[in-house]
């Protein structure tokens, strides 16, 4: 028989904060459940019918009481709302400095790519005490990354990037679940988040990254797919240059501006005419179906690496993620 447990481990900075709110809600629930059940039972005993033709005392209502039990619950829920919303805001906004890892969900496995090129399946290695941001997408249906011991969860959608961030506080192995029903083997789409001390994590990273960093693999794809014939390092190409593009505002042909984030870059590859850059002809073909989701993420990482200052693709800062 497994050990009796009523709370998951607190293994992220968010966990104790979520638990505090949870405890408050448990106490509130217990209080009101006992208060009202107690009252009901007390009345039921005290005012038992004494004779068959007895009727209750005619009391029709009391506006002061009504106002009281409207306003008090209202104040309580507004308090809970404020507390939970501020926590949620922290959850939804990753800090400025994060270690970025990419995730692709597919029926029924998780693939993770580290910027240095490490790829892993159903396991995610992260260093302790570091803010980690996952950029996630799905190859097929909706999935959901859920790490109960971190109290974090986010849907993983096809055709879109979503984010999840956490800062692990304790080395160990933690469950990773798919929390959005995704078909036959949904309950098998599970894995482990392995939180390591930084030194240990560096050692793990050093244990062979394979074919180079994500940006390097992306650069190779960029050449293989002939993207480079139009998107040049200077401004002479038929397509806009991608150097220094990431994170900047782009003016579209309809006059609107859009931030060149991961989602925009992905969209411009699979559906180039959706939001055209001002001043360019709609001549780029779609790459939908020609590049895998992993490949798209590698291309994104490559574009990210194209800094405005003269540099080369190998100078990606990703190999040392846990810098302080």
């Amino acid at each position: 028989m497994p050990q009796i447990q009523i709370l998951p481990t607190q293994a992220s900075t968010m966990a104790p904060q979520v638990d505090a709110l949870y405890f408050f809600l448990v106490a509130l629930t217990a209080f009101f459940t006992l208060l009202i059940s107690g009252m009901v039972v007390y009345f039921a005993i005290k005012y038992r019918r004494q004779s068959t033709d007895e009727a209750g005392v005619p009391i029709h209502g009391n506006m002061t009481l009504e106002a009281t039990w409207t306003v008090i619950p209202l104040l309580i829920v507004l308090f809970i709302f404020g507390w939970s919303a501020s926590l949620f805001y922290t959850m939804a906004r990753p800090p400025a400095q994060t270690l970025d890892i990419y995730a692709v969900g597919k029926q029924w496995m998780w693939k993770f790519q580290h910027p240095d090129g490490h790829a892993e399946v159903n396991e995610l290695h992260v260093p302790v005490g570091t803010s980690v941001k996952l950029t996630m997408t799905s190859q097929d249906v909706i999935h959901d990354v859920y790490i109960p011991d971190f109290r974090v969860k986010a849907d993983v959608l096809p055709g879109r990037y979503t984010h999840l961030w956490f800062k692990a506080t304790k080395p160990g192995r933690y469950h990773l679940f798919c929390a959005e029903y995704c078909g036959t083997n949904h309950s098998g789409m599970i894995g482990w988040v392995v939180v390591q001390e930084r030194a240990e994590y560096q050692q793990w990273l050093a244990g062979g990254a394979g074919q180079g960093t994500m940006a390097q693999i992306g650069e190779k794809l960029f050449k293989d797919l002939s993207c480079v014939t139009c998107h040049r390092e200077d401004t002479t190409g038929r397509g806009p240059t991608l150097v220094g593009l990431f994170g900047k505002a782009v003016t579209l042909d309809n006059g609107n501006a859009v931030e060149a984030d991961e989602a925009y870059i992905r969209e411009s590859i699979v559906n180039p005419r959706a939001r055209m850059v001002s001043g360019f002809q709609p001549i780029m073909p779609t790459f939908q179906g020609l590049v895998s989701e992993e490949g798209l993420l590698q291309l994104v990482e490559y574009v990210k690496s194209l800094k405005a200052t003269p540099s080369n693709a190998t100078g990606v800062p990703a190999a040392e993620p846990a810098k302080k």
Partner: protein
């Protein structure tokens, strides 16, 4: 007014099958619904039993994953669309709305019969899907899984639910018109029993909300069968759009289930404390408030679906606000007991059960409205426990409570009250044993819809499965003593509880046209004082 009068009651007014299948009598149609929803309840319960049996062990060893996925989908589909939504309105509402307002029937008796046939046809499609291999999308039909990936009979079930939706719309329409136009002389709006207010609010949701789910399911079918790109991103669609449309109906649908239960609650509390409901007007308007605000909270099902932070906050706030009218109702029911004349016959035991389950179900709703906690517990067993407490605990307690309360009126016979009280207690215990452990295992992180699960969750699953056995016994008991009462029960007087309300002024069972003379109402509802 003792019975043994020569004129026929509605049960003796024709014995042929045709006299039942072509009846336009709202009371007979109510009984047709009683039989159909009971059949679907048994079916849904069998699925639930198999689910609980599979979850006794961490490994997925009883059935295949595909089978398990079909089980929980069919459990949800039959219970939500074919039992919980129609149960109280279509059975008790059909029977009682005309009786309570002093009318001879609903406004559109033929449409009422049509609604039962529509329901039945929808049900047949769903059963057809079941025998043709079942459906594995979950009752929520999330895209693009349902529209592009699932290899099961999605289209059949979707058509079944689409058709069934019209029975809801027709019933809602009938109630609205009936309540507006057919009240007896003197039956003003604020003399209406609160059961009628609750059904009026329910009918509004049925009429305004159901078309949205119908259209949404048509779109799923169109994408699946014709390849129209609506939800699948590969076809240029948006998968999250489906969730908005689905929950725009399916959250209010929870209120379709619970508002009628609240209406029954008000009737029972008043009758068994012989007292006017404390704050009658407040309780009446809180039903309407729930119906209106209930349409504005759908986004709380999607806090982790990538909607914007600010949208999530707005939906969170509105979800907290919709809790207030429910809280107000609970306070008013409790206050009604104060200085009442309380008798503890079986329906009142169901009332206590309802209060217990509704309190836990309602208060755990606050956990889910609280954004940061919801992120952790959404899509886990915590949510499963919560919505079972509210939708199932709340609704079934009052469906059964109401069935016991009006049983003598419906069938003119008395059941064994002691047995009925025991069943109420057994159901209450079984329910808590089944679903309370799910809160704990949910907070521990066990995701819902998992065929196999890590071993540390086993203890709570065993408790839950054990509870399901107790619950099954509790649900089975009324079947026996209620059916037995039909054969051997003592005849019921017109008003066995000494309750107020027009339905108790006519004979038990009522004559075909309800009242020999249309009553004239001269006093407010629940006018017990002498």
């Amino acid at each position: 007014m003792e019975t043994a009068t020569p004129h026929a009651n509605y049960l003796t007014d024709g014995y042929t099958l045709k006299s039942w299948l072509l009846t336009r009598d709202h009371k007979r149609i109510g009984l047709l619904y009683l039989i159909s929803v009971s059949a679907f309840f048994v079916l849904g319960a069998v699925f639930a039993g198999l689910i609980r049996l599979e979850l006794m062990t961490p490994a997925g060893d009883l059935v295949e994953s595909d089978t398990y996925n079909r089980l929980f989908t069919m459990h949800g589909v039959t219970m939500v669309f074919f039992f919980l939504i129609p149960a109280i309105p279509a059975v008790l509402g059909n029977f009682l709305v005309p009786l309570m307002i002093g009318a001879r029937d609903l406004a559109f008796p033929r449409i009422n019969l049509l609604s039962w046939y529509v329901y039945t046809i929808g049900g047949i499609f769903t059963l057809w899907a079941l025998v043709s291999g079942g459906v594995d999308t979950g009752w929520t039909f999330y895209t693009p899984y349902s529209s592009a990936f699932s290899n099961s009979s999605v289209a059949l079930v979707v058509v079944g639910i689409f058709i069934n939706g019209f029975s809801s719309i027709l019933t809602g329409l009938n109630f609205i018109v009936t309540i507006h136009k057919m009240r007896a002389p003197g039956m003003t709006w604020f003399r209406l029993p609160l059961f009628i207010w609750a059904h009026y609010a329910t009918a509004l949701i049925m009429v305004l909300g159901t078309p949205v789910i119908a259209i949404t399911l048509v779109m799923v079918a169109a994408e699946r069968l014709l390849g129209l790109g609506i939800f699948d991103p590969k076809l240029g669609g948006d998968p999250v759009l489906f969730q908005h449309l689905f929950w725009f109906y399916s959250h209010p649908a929870v209120y379709i289930m619970i508002l009628p239960a609240m209406g029954v609650m008000s009737e029972l509390v008043a009758a068994f404390s012989r007292k006017r409901i404390f704050g009658y007007e407040v309780v009446a308007f809180s039903s309407l408030a729930i119906a209106v605000v209930g349409f504005l909270v759908w986004g709380h099902h999607m806090f982790v679906s990538s909607q914007s932070v600010y949208a999530a906050m707005a939906f969170s706030l509105l979800s907290f606000l919709v809790a207030i009218p429910s809280a107000i109702k609970v306070f008013n029911w409790s206050a009604t007991l104060y200085k009442g004349s309380i008798s503890l016959e079986a329906p009142m035991i169901y009332v206590f059960g309802f209060i217990g389950l509704f309190l836990i179900g309602g208060l755990t709703g606050l956990f889910l409205a609280a954004l940061a906690v919801d992120v952790h517990v959404t899509d886990t067993y915590f949510v499963v426990a919560h919505f079972h407490y509210i939708m199932v605990g709340g609704t079934i307690m009052m469906y059964l409570g109401g069935l016991h309360y009006w049983w003598p009126k419906i069938f003119g016979t008395l059941y064994h009250d002691g047995m009925a009280r025991v069943s109420a207690v057994v159901i209450f215990i079984g329910f808590n044993l089944t679903f309370f452990p799910q809160f704990i295992v949910g907070y521990l992180g066990m995701p819902r819809r998992y065929h196999a699960y890590p071993p540390e969750f086993q203890l709570w699953n065993i408790l839950s499965s054990a509870g399901a056995v107790v619950l099954a016994i509790g649900y089975a008991m009324p079947t026996f003593y209620l059916v037995y009462s039909l054969v051997k029960g003592k005849p019921a007087p017109p008003n066995p509880w000494g309750a107020k309300g027009l339905e108790w002024e006519t004979s038990s069972p009522p004559p075909t046209h309800n009242f020999d003379e249309i009553p004239v109402v001269t006093e407010p509802a629940y006018h017990y004082e002498k």
